[in-house]
Subunit: 556 residues, 2 copies
């Protein structure tokens, strides 16, 4: 790479991200060749009713697929690689990632019949590769899952560096350190633009090491009088290792509940990222053969997800396992914003059963994302000319941008990227002149993008006050009712206790239709809208509710 | 009162409270006479779709109304008095509360045509009253609204004390101190049972005074280059006063957006709880006549409520006001659990517009509830024989119970009350032998309690995948279709892009009905369930969605 004059074109943009800013898929374009950084899935917002996951709009990539040279995955979390199958269905390009990352996504690709046709490139930190004509180098970072990398893309104007999710862990559980040496070197050679993780940019200080939870978890295992149940994100291999080690030390057998966690344990064991002591694991149905104080259970559900085994175990509705008095439950996870209440609900259930609960406790919990001091360290190592805060919510990116300024990045070279905004980088200045198609695509069942505003608006209406279907068969020639009107409601009122209301409503429909027929108003649309108006007004008067009203008028 | 032998019957129970424990309406029964403590409304849980508010089941009170002697309101927050109109409709009993509390609820009672027929008893801290044959005394506590009281009910076995919401504020904004003297005296005379606020029982230390936000808010007003918008709960009279004082000092005019806050300001000004400087207030439509740095705006919406003016102002959809670059927005409220995300969303909108935002900042925010040190102080002053943690979630009540034990309350005399569990108190021991009808009643529009499990289940189904209505008119004698089948869907798929799917579905319905008719299956219920099954299977295969299916078969 060189800093001398050049005419290279370097562009950076985000393709998707809920909220006000891109965050789960970035693209770096060097002289018309595109490298995709991560392909994450997002959890739908509360008002995206019935939606399973949200992914980025990749129509720009599809339209320009000959220019897309590869996808690089920074690590194995779903927020960073969960959209991969959806992308690969439309775009056949090589995928780069470390051994564990690729191991974790293989299953997903198999399910989508994509494994065989996908060119998978397993890379290691320190590797340099050429993707198209673009040179990229991977460097190790620390996070809450092993085998995480950042990427330095070598452009004629300097490096474009993407950190992925990271923190500076000075006592990493696997003794593999973030490669500050390489980072320093990028900084020396010249970083044109740094894209850095903003998740904890509002938190002062330094995020503790993954290691800090080790004594906390061991202490709980030692002191627990009965079973210990550890709930942690299924991908947190470090935490799983700590729980297994604690179980071994306290002579407990370990059972795992939940397919996702079983999968992660199998893969990371097979690939050498998890040491599972011999004779430690038992099946859930063997638990009954052991005393409580000889048992530990590993499970997910640490965000209080109502569909999780932990939630069911707490409520006593799980087929395999119920929480009992004397059980000790460790909830080892940082609450995702918005999940505080559902976690609280599970904790309440657990207490109600009589279990001990260790939660929101610094001894068993630690974030995987860098706090302000570490973010400034990254900025100081890289000394970027331009800075793009990535990940996190808009306000966190704002906070990160402010931090960058305190480390000396010029305010005009801090760029917040909304979805689709293209940052065109030159050494001296940068412009945001163009936009590419971008945004969020909702996945519901097999449908990708077919649930849009109209469907969501209807679901919201239906969820609030239900629906009322009015059916009537008319003989318009004879001006008579052949059958009905009948009213069927769902989600509106409890029908058995509202007979009077619904009878009266039926009466209103009959009157309205009679009047229309007498006045010779007999276009479908007028009949329907009259029925809808009269009924809507009547029901609102009587109940102050506004159910969706669906008049169906059949003709014979 | 006396401690000598007696045969009095004292019972304590809770009638409602979301989650695992009673928390918004308590009843103390002394020798068969009942005193109701607070009548609060609760915010519905996320899965109570379309429900407006939740109140306690008062059927036990209604069944025994001759024994209900009065309702005491501890303070003017909706969580403590918002259910009053619903209670008074069924139960005509005197209501006791301080001047501000009663002032705030009068409007509500007027709306419900209850003001004239309700016996309102305005009391002051220190007052002793006889309610039926029961003697009660009110004592001042501090909280985030003026004029808060606790209640000491004098029973032959000792006092039953209800703290209401409180903290120990050593520098109260109105210089009115919590009456620790009276509390000490109750303790000396003998407290049979203490019911104390558990909201912050998980937080170590001491909650700061309401006063601490004064310099923080003033500093923001001084430094803001443009308009200052202060968002705070509409009932927080202290915070409103601070904002008004800060506005006066910085020569800003103040406009109020939102009816609820206007109402609180008018009432508290009229009753002497708020000093509004002369010439301070202007109307929103006068804002344009003043420069930004001469303007402050007060509004609610501090929990990020999507229906609030602040939310609309941030998104630029409010009729009256839009947030602009250079505006400074102070969000002065402690996030309610579960609201962190909606607050974050508003903050993001505000940043996106280019406003300065001061939020989740200790300088502009303070809780109104006692932390652990204060809770222990209350326990030590009262030295209760029995202890019932009230308010807050189950886990907070558990934490509060643990605190009580550290102050010397015997573990067997700490009682967590679930809704309807009756704690029968004797000086030495207490029993939880009986239950009274209790629980939560959902209010939706004018309906009180008519939205139950069936309606909610339907709303949940509808919200996830929408509805599909199948209509067909049959001539069963002739075994022919007279009209249809027609399919109408809402909230399922975007119809214009799913014509093929819906045509095929129609085909399936026709085939199914034909087969049934050929096989002489022609009971309504079989026809319908066949249609439902076939369609449900087909649609799930094609879309992996499960819309509600409503077959309507008409006959001519």
């Amino acid at each position: 790479m060189s800093k001398q004059e050049n005419t290279s074109k370097v562009r950076v943009f985000a393709l998707g991200g809920l909220g006000e800013t891109g965050k789960n898929m970035y693209v770096v374009e060097v002289n018309d060749e595109m490298i995709v950084l991560d392909a994450g899935q997002m959890i739908p917002e509360d008002d995206m009713l019935g939606v399973d996951i949200v992914i980025a709009d990749i129509s720009y990539l599809v339209q320009n697929q000959e220019r897309v040279k590869g996808i690089i995955l920074s690590h194995g979390h779903a927020e960073h690689c969960g959209a991969l199958p959806y992308v690969l269905k439309k775009l056949q390009v090589p995928v780069y990632g470390t051994k564990l990352t690729m191991g974790l996504i293989e299953d997903d690709l198999k399910t989508h019949h994509l494994l065989k046709k996908t060119e998978i490139k397993i890379v290691s930190p320190g590797d340099r590769v050429k993707i198209g004509n673009v040179k990229a180098e991977f460097f190790r970072v620390s996070h809450s899952i092993p085998d995480c990398i950042g990427v330095a893309i070598d452009t004629p104007q300097g490096y474009v560096v993407y950190t992925g999710d990271f923190k500076f862990d000075q006592t990493p559980a696997d003794r593999k350190f973030a490669d500050t040496g390489r980072m320093t070197e990028y900084g020396k050679k010249g970083v044109l633009c740094l894209l850095s993780d903003s998740t904890n940019a509002e938190l002062p200080g330094t995020t503790p090491s993954e290691k800090v939870t080790e004594p906390g978890i061991k202490a709980v295992f030692r002191e627990a009088l009965g079973r210990v149940i550890v709930s942690t994100p299924s991908s947190n291999v470090y935490r799983i290792q700590q729980a297994m080690d604690a179980a071994r030390e306290t002579n407990r057998k370990v059972a795992v509940v939940g397919e996702a966690m079983k999968k992660v344990i199998n893969i990371s064991k097979r690939l050498g990222y998890l040491r599972v002591p011999k004779n430690l694991m038992i099946n859930v149905d063997e638990l009954a053969n052991h005393k409580g104080e000889k048992i530990a259970v590993l499970t997910a559900g640490s965000q209080g997800e109502p569909t999780s085994a932990l939630h069911r175990m707490a409520k006593g509705t799980d087929r395999q396992l119920s929480i009992m008095p004397k059980d000790t439950v460790i909830i080892s996870a940082i609450p995702t914003p918005g999940k505080e209440k559902s976690i609280g609900r599970v904790v309440d259930f657990l207490y109600k059963v009589g279990a001990e609960v260790v939660h929101s406790d610094k001894d068993v919990n630690v974030s995987g994302h860098a706090s302000q001091e570490e973010l400034m360290l990254m900025l100081n190592l890289m000394k970027p000319r331009h800075f793009v805060p990535v990940q996190g919510e808009f306000r966190m990116q704002i906070a990160h941008g402010n931090l960058a300024q305190t480390t000396g990045v010029h305010p005009e070279r801090v760029h917040l990227l909304q979805n689709g905004e293209v940052l065109q980088l030159e050494e001296k200045n940068a412009t945001k002149s163009t936009k590419v198609p971008a945004g969020n695509v909702l996945v519901d069942g097999l449908g990708i993008g077919d649930v849009g505003n109209i469907v969501l608006r209807d679901r919201r209406l239906l969820s609030k006050d239900g629906i009322l279907v009015v059916v009537v068969t008319l003989n318009k020639k004879a001006n008579t009712f052949v059958s009905g009107p009948d009213i069927i409601s769902r989600g509106f009122v409890y029908v058995r206790e509202s007979e009077e209301l619904l009878d009266e409503a039926k009466q209103k429909v009959t009157e309205t239709l009679r009047e229309c027929m007498n006045d010779n108003v007999n276009e479908w649309s007028s009949l329907k809208s009259n029925v809808r108006d009269v009924l809507s007004r009547y029901l609102f008067d009587q109940t102050k509710r506004r159910p969706m009203i669906l008049p169906i008028i059949m003709e014979v």
